[in-house]
């Protein structure tokens, strides 16, 4: 493999790994802030215990999200220096603002929340965790604005003299319609992830030891399940908006998502297809008539452009070359992304129903569902990003710069391979440690304490 392939693998591995932790952080910080608020307002001990319990799991997860985020910022310069030079005038700004507005807020107030348990006025302590939660969302917004510029560049002019894209309207970058659609979709996915995380662990506790700690795990199952369900509805709504915007801004990505080779009106949506390896011929397919037309254009018989026609149009516009992304990959990541969200929501609905009917009796299948439900959104998030980024290929900036032109000219394959191996091994070890800690703490339950207990003030997550 040469440097370009290695750099792409590295970006994929490092970014997907980082994004396993980010959505849990975004969603769970808000849920923990909500529990802390409930404790503040009611003074009930069950809410204090819940805040501590989920707070601790949040922190274990947050730590890996932070340290792997450092690599994200530097790998643009390390592996993609030609890209960095070409777009730095535009792409660097949201990144720098993300640091100044969001990272400082998150890290500083998280320190205050962890260590300020018995030292801060109660209101300030509560405000700290809310500021952390707000920081995570701000961070998501700015990074998605930067990414959306790569999907659908706005507010720039190409300067032939300097050979780079130059910013002329920062407002257009921040209000890019792709960013405005992607942000709520990503936040909804984050709440689905955090809700399913809470639901899965709490359900597991309830099923294993029905009599014990029900006072904190029963409400957690409810909160987790309701969060998951609401997030699933939000995901469908925002995903639908996003699909229509994608059809308009990146028609090739939409065509690849359906493996639609010929322009059709109406276009059906295939739930699954058995076909040739490159997806160009189908053997058998289960189709929803008019489905894609509706998804893409909000009309039942709207015209959806096919891959072959788009390829011809792009050749005329950008010159010879292939402008097709990897079709089977986009086709299947798109479907499994949706499926994993639907399954998580189904388990949430089941859990809620069982809770209402007082039917929380342990069965092998229920315990398996409890273990699976936190993993489903993680899979869905990863597949969603792989679809979004692979669907843009061969472009690094859609219509403006090819991925193969963005790589660092002075970095050899040996260096990229070294960092790929080092970081992958390191991340592998971190994953083992993280899972070990999460499992250990997921099993552990904070002791019941009275407010007069001196230890009650000491949270279990200090150094």
């Amino acid at each position: 493999m040469d440097a370009i392939d290695l750099a792409r693998w590295q970006f994929g591995i490092i970014t997907v790994y980082h994004f396993l932790f980010v959505p849990i952080t975004i969603g769970l910080s808000a849920l923990v802030a909500g529990l802390h608020t409930a404790w503040y307002r009611t003074g009930q001990q069950k809410y204090r215990r819940m805040t501590q319990y989920w707070g601790k799991l949040f922190l274990i997860n947050f730590a890996i999200g932070v340290v792997t985020g450092i690599v994200q910022e530097f790998q643009f310069g390390m592996n993609w220096s030609a890209y960095s030079k070409f777009v730095g005038d535009i792409f660097g700004a949201p990144l720098a603002i993300e640091g100044l507005l969001a990272f400082f807020l998150e890290s500083t107030f998280l320190g205050l929340w962890i260590f300020g348990w018995d030292r801060l006025p109660k209101k300030v302590h509560l405000a700290s965790i809310w500021l952390v939660a707000i920081g995570t969302q701000l961070s998501a917004y700015f990074i998605l604005a930067a990414n959306s510029w790569m999907q659908w560049p706005r507010g720039y002019t190409y300067n032939a003299a300097s050979g780079r894209a130059e910013l002329h309207d920062f407002g257009a970058v921040l209000t890019n319609k792709v960013a405005l659609a992607t942000f709520p979709h990503t936040i909804a996915a984050s709440f689905l992830t955090a809700g399913a995380f809470m639901l899965g662990i709490a359900l597991w506790h309830l099923l294993r030891r029905p009599g014990q700690h029900g006072s904190i795990f029963r409400p957690a199952v409810k909160l987790g399940a309701i969060t998951t369900l609401l997030a699933a509805v939000a995901l469908i709504v925002t995903g639908d908006i996003q699909a229509k915007i994608m059809t308009d801004t990146q028609p090739m990505k939409m065509a690849a998502a359906e493996a639609l080779y010929d322009t059709s009106s109406p276009a059906p949506f295939s739930i699954l297809t058995i076909g040739s390896l490159d997806g160009s011929k189908e053997v058998w397919s289960l189709k929803v008539p008019h489905g894609l037309s509706f998804l893409a254009t909000s009309t039942w018989s709207g015209k959806v452009e096919g891959i072959n026609d788009l390829q011809k149009a792009y050749e005329q516009r950008f010159g010879p070359g292939t402008y097709k992304p990897n079709v089977p990959l986009t086709y299947w990541t798109f479907r499994f992304m949706i499926l994993s969200g639907v399954l998580a929501a189904a388990i949430a609905l089941l859990a809620l129903w069982l809770l209402r009917r007082q039917r929380m009796t342990p069965s092998k299948w229920l315990i398996r569902a409890a273990l699976a439900v936190p993993l489903l959104p993680l899979l869905g998030n990863s597949l969603g990003w792989i679809f979004t980024e692979m669907g843009r290929q061969p472009w690094i900036v859609f219509g403006l710069m090819k991925t193969s032109d963005g790589v660092s000219p002075s970095v050899g394959a040996g260096s990229v391979l070294t960092s790929l191996i080092v970081l992958t091994l390191l991340y592998g070890v971190l994953a083992v440690v993280e899972v070990f800690l999460l499992l250990r703490f997921a099993r552990e339950v904070p002791a019941e304490t009275t407010p007069s207990d001196p230890e009650a003030a000491e949270p279990a997550f200090l150094y």
């Binding site: 730590a63 310069g77 640091g99 920062f170 294993r208 960092s419 390191l426 250990r440 150094y463």
Partner: protein, 338 residues
């Protein structure tokens, strides 16, 4: 003042903030086995930086992001050029963050001991390598007209840069020792004070050599003044520590790091990365910069939000201003396991 100059200054300020703040938490990490004899000492030591180290590290992320936004060519050439060195730093920072966060999560001596080794090593490595990197930036690197780095990993390991690395390593260790003396009482405090004189003397020698050598490249009366002021603050800080004035001593080492960084950036200006191949190929504040429009937006954002950040970070230090001792470490809470 041109916008490009303002951004050169702002990036210098961000690096100064980073080195002054993370400098002491690197120092505390490196000195962990020196100032502590048992598990409680180690908890006291780590808790001095517990609430703040993550916020300190964000200064680096903002410095990196600001370089990307304001001087994209500098960011691109530097980070692709210093590839392997930067990789080592990143690995160390990852391990360090994880070690600091995960160490206290399980109350088990073996678990603690393993993470302690990581904390010491992963604090020392970046403390050394940031000095090496900064020295190479100031001295310049082989670079052609295409502004691509033309050296190898070993080009970076020249005597001048290595001396720079030793200087930051020692300076951060000293800064950390004085911070610990300021933030603790009891045994940890006494041991921290005890290591100040030997590290202090070594730091004076290394720093004098490094800043003197820097002047030999491109000294002006301004850089000489800054270097001398740095030296005075270092000696003053050591004297204050000798007299038991720990607050002044900490201000002294903080000012030393700030002035030394100022010396380096002033020497560098108006270049951002000089070329040792031919001065005409150097990256400067002009040819590496973003457009005036981007710089203007970034300036507004920085002017509005930097004071806010300083305010709440300052508040954190105020909240945790109390000196820590062994009596502040509670007995482990018994937890139910199901």
């Amino acid at each position: 003042m041109a916008l490009t100059d303002i951004w050169f200054l702002l990036i210098a300020v961000l690096w100064t903030g980073y080195l002054v703040l993370e400098g002491f938490d690197f120092g505390v990490g490196m000195l962990l086995p020196v100032v502590s004899r048992d598990a409680i000492d180690r908890k006291v030591t780590l808790r001095t930086i517990g609430p703040v180290w993550d916020g300190n590290e964000v200064w680096l992320l903002v410095a990196g992001g600001a370089t990307f936004a304001a001087f994209p060519s500098w960011y691109a050439t530097l980070f692709s050029g210093f590839y392997l060195a930067l990789l080592i730093i990143l690995v160390a920072l990852i391990l360090r963050g994880i070690a600091l966060e995960y160490r206290g999560k399980i109350d088990d001596p073996t678990w603690h001991r393993r993470w302690d080794i990581v904390i010491v090593g992963a604090s020392a490595v970046p403390a050394l390598l940031w000095g090496v990197a900064l020295a190479n930036i100031v001295r310049g690197v082989p670079m052609g007209a295409d502004h691509e780095y033309a050296g190898t990993f070993f080009t970076l390991l020249n005597p001048y840069a290595l001396l720079g690395g030793v200087t930051t390593l020692l300076l951060f260790a000293l800064h950390g020792a004085i911070f610990l003396a300021l933030k603790t009482h009891g045994e940890v405090h006494d041991r921290a004070l005890k290591v100040v004189p030997p590290i202090g003397i070594a730091t004076v020698v290394a720093a004098a050599g490094f800043l003197g050598w820097t002047q030999a490249f491109d000294g002006s009366w301004i850089t000489w003044t800054l270097a001398l002021a740095a030296a005075l603050c270092l000696v003053g800080g050591l004297a204050a520590s000798w007299l038991g004035r720990e607050g002044w001593a900490f201000l002294g080492t903080a000012a030393t790091i700030a002035l030394a960084t100022a010396t380096l950036f002033t020497t560098l200006y108006p270049n951002v990365l000089p070329s040792t191949t031919d001065a005409a190929f150097s990256l400067t504040t002009i040819n590496a910069a973003s457009t005036p429009y981007t710089l203007k937006i970034m300036t507004w954002v920085a002017v509005i939000f930097t004071p806010v950040v300083l305010l709440y970070q300052g508040y954190t230090y105020w909240v945790f201003r109390k000196r820590l001792g062994r009596s502040d470490i509670p007995a482990p809470v018994q937890k139910a396991t199901v």
